[in-house]
């Protein structure tokens, strides 16, 4: 089975966010594989181990994403591809990324494409379904279970807490929700092996794309921090009195009940 994973390098979830020069400050920040993409990589490896085939992890980004791609290889993916847009694209959006990925994927005959359902930085969750639509294949988002049987698939989709059991067929794109699996840590032998696995680097030229073909449809005009919350009021006194005061404050001061 020919399996592709769409991966994004993101800020570590523990990182504090600061702004400098109108942009999110990346100096000294730790980067990781987007947590939802980790589920995608794990699922791809499990599907391959059960059905045979090959897992290729693809990322659109800069040279720095090589580190996260190596981690994916160390987890057990077979190949990695970095589509390096550093020299060509300054401000892409989801249209840009989806177009590049689809252009790369269109002649790959993928049976299964797995992505995270959302990246924790931009938080749009658009790229997976966009890629499926451009490739003309079906998709299921926010999945928590995937069973492949020949060319058909049974998928459980999380719908705001409810679960839908969906039947569909390959080729298919799915996006991973938490609960799909427990991503493995790379093992030491895995890390050693990963160094020898292929990590190809492409640029827009290699995909016969011009900057104009992928020019963003939207633009960020400002990034700002939410107003700092003032320290709240910690109540004092007998517990019963505190509770009475709290209810009164919520009712008369905050007016939320």
């Amino acid at each position: 089975m020919n399996i592709y994973v769409l991966m994004k390098r993101t800020f570590d979830t523990e990182e504090k966010i600061t702004i400098s020069g109108g942009k999110i400050n990346e100096d000294g920040a730790e980067f990781i594989i987007n947590p939802y993409d980790e589920y995608a990589i794990e699922e791809a490896i499990q599907v391959r181990d059960a059905n045979g085939g090959e897992v290729t992890v693809v990322s659109v980004g800069t040279e720095e994403a090589e580190k996260q791609l190596r981690t994916a290889l160390a987890m057990g993916a077979d190949k990695a591809v970095l589509i390096n847009t550093e020299d060509d694209i300054e401000d892409g959006d989801q249209f840009t990324t989806a177009k590049i990925l689809s252009e790369f994927l269109k002649d790959k005959d993928a049976d299964l494409i797995i992505a995270g359902n959302v990246a924790i930085d931009g938080g749009s969750g658009q790229v997976g379904p966009r890629v499926a639509e451009i490739l003309g294949i079906s998709y299921v988002t926010t999945i928590t279970k995937l069973d492949i049987n020949g060319s058909s698939a049974t998928v459980v989709r999380d719908v705001e807490g409810d679960s839908e059991v969906i039947e569909t067929s390959l080729p298919l794109l799915v996006t991973a929700q938490q609960g799909l699996n427990e991503p493995r840590y790379p093992s030491l032998p895995g890390i050693m092996k990963a160094k020898k696995k292929p990590l190809d680097e492409l640029e827009l030229d290699d995909l016969d794309l011009d900057e104009d073909d992928v020019e963003a449809k939207t633009k960020t005009i400002e990034i700002y921090m939410p107003p700092k919350k003032e320290a709240g009021k910690v109540l004092e006194g007998e517990l019963e009195d505190q509770v009475k005061e709290l209810v009164k404050l919520l009712h008369t001061e905050a007016k939320v009940v």
């Binding site: 658009q126 499926a132 700002y224």
Partner: protein, 325 residues
């Protein structure tokens, strides 16, 4: 610039979800005096059209087909594309719900348009419609504009206030024909887990429990408080990982992002990943034994104490308030 805006209404259990009315309000802002056209898709939705008009839509277009009884990306995109072809809108607004998140990118790809997801406010500024949205799970915000093509956004529930309901408003309701065929995903079964009680993403009040809840039974007092306040129960990752509750309740960076009017955190320490999911709530109350717990830093009101003592007292006090009201 006056625009024609299509607003997708969302139906759940035979009623319009609140986010539909919020989307109409957003559509009104985006229309700048143009027209707001509600769109309803389903197997029997025509009776709901007046709801969208009462909340500000000028008219409503419906697509009905028995194959649209349940949402599927293929079915709903075929229906919506038929409406887009017949209406040629300047803007599209959906809710940033499970349905909106799934469908909007597909439509954007079909139209080769931009899409601004998870918008919490929008306004006209400097000749542009400017959309504000949280990034990095609410640790920062960005303002975005559309530079090319149609305006397209999904709005986060509970952030844009609906317009006042006016039952005297009336408007045209028309059907658009669409051929719904070749659905590639078939829903075999729906397992209801979350929907006992109030929907977490639209709840005005959320009572959330963390590791301090200690067990599955420990959630009982939280559920009682939630039912008195007509709220929903949520949880931190810690509580979910410890198997005290289902992952469908999880609030945080992974899990749901919520912005209720009132968030009561019970026995939640306040890890940065949890704060990312709830820190934009209007009023936050923290109940925790540990006075140093991080959650007190984002709380508007705090009680240092045992949640198993505090929560039942709170429930009683709110009951009294309701009786007196």
């Amino acid at each position: 610039m006056a625009r024609k805006v299509l607003v997708l209404g969302e139906v759940r259990d035979g009623s319009l979800r609140n986010v539909s009315f919020e989307a109409v309000a957003a559509g009104k802002t985006a229309s700048e005096g143009g027209e707001v056209v509600g769109v309803l898709i389903g197997d029997a939705v025509s009776t709901l059209a007046s709801g969208m008009i009462h909340y500000g839509a000028d008219r409503v277009v419906i697509v009905e087909d028995e194959k649209l009884k349940q949402y599927t990306p293929d079915g709903f995109s075929q229906a919506l594309m038929a409406v887009i072809d017949s209406e040629s809108p300047d803007a599209l607004i959906f809710g940033h719900t499970a349905l909106g998140k799934d469908l909007a990118p597909k439509i954007a790809a079909k139209l080769e348009s931009g899409l601004i997801s998870d918008v919490t406010s929008l306004e006209e500024a400097g000749g542009n419609l400017v959309f504000t949205r949280p990034i990095y799970s609410g640790k920062a915000f960005e303002k975005k504009i559309v530079t090319d093509g149609l305006l397209f956004a999904t709005i986060r529930p509970n952030n844009i206030a609906p317009l006042e309901k006016d039952e005297s408003r009336s408007g045209d309701v028309a059907s658009v024909a669409a051929e719904i065929k070749d659905l590639r995903t078939i829903i075999k079964e729906v397992v209801r887990k979350a929907s006992e009680g109030v929907d977490l993403s639209e709840a005005k009040v959320i009572i959330a429990g963390g590791r301090g809840v200690k067990s599955e039974e420990g959630f009982e007092p939280l559920k009682e408080l939630a039912s008195v306040l007509n709220g929903a129960v949520g949880a931190s990752r810690g509580a979910c990982d410890a198997d005290y509750c289902d992952y469908s309740l999880q609030i945080g960076q992974t899990g749901k992002v919520v912005t209720p009017d009132l968030y009561i955190a019970c026995g939640i320490s306040g890890a940065i990943q949890h704060l990312a999911g709830m820190s934009n709530s209007k009023v936050i109350v923290a109940i925790n034994k540990d006075p140093e717990a991080n959650i007190f830093k984002v709380a508007d009101y705090g009680i240092v104490g045992d949640l198993f003592e505090v929560v039942p007292l709170l429930t009683e006090e709110f009951k009294k308030l309701k009786v007196n009201a």
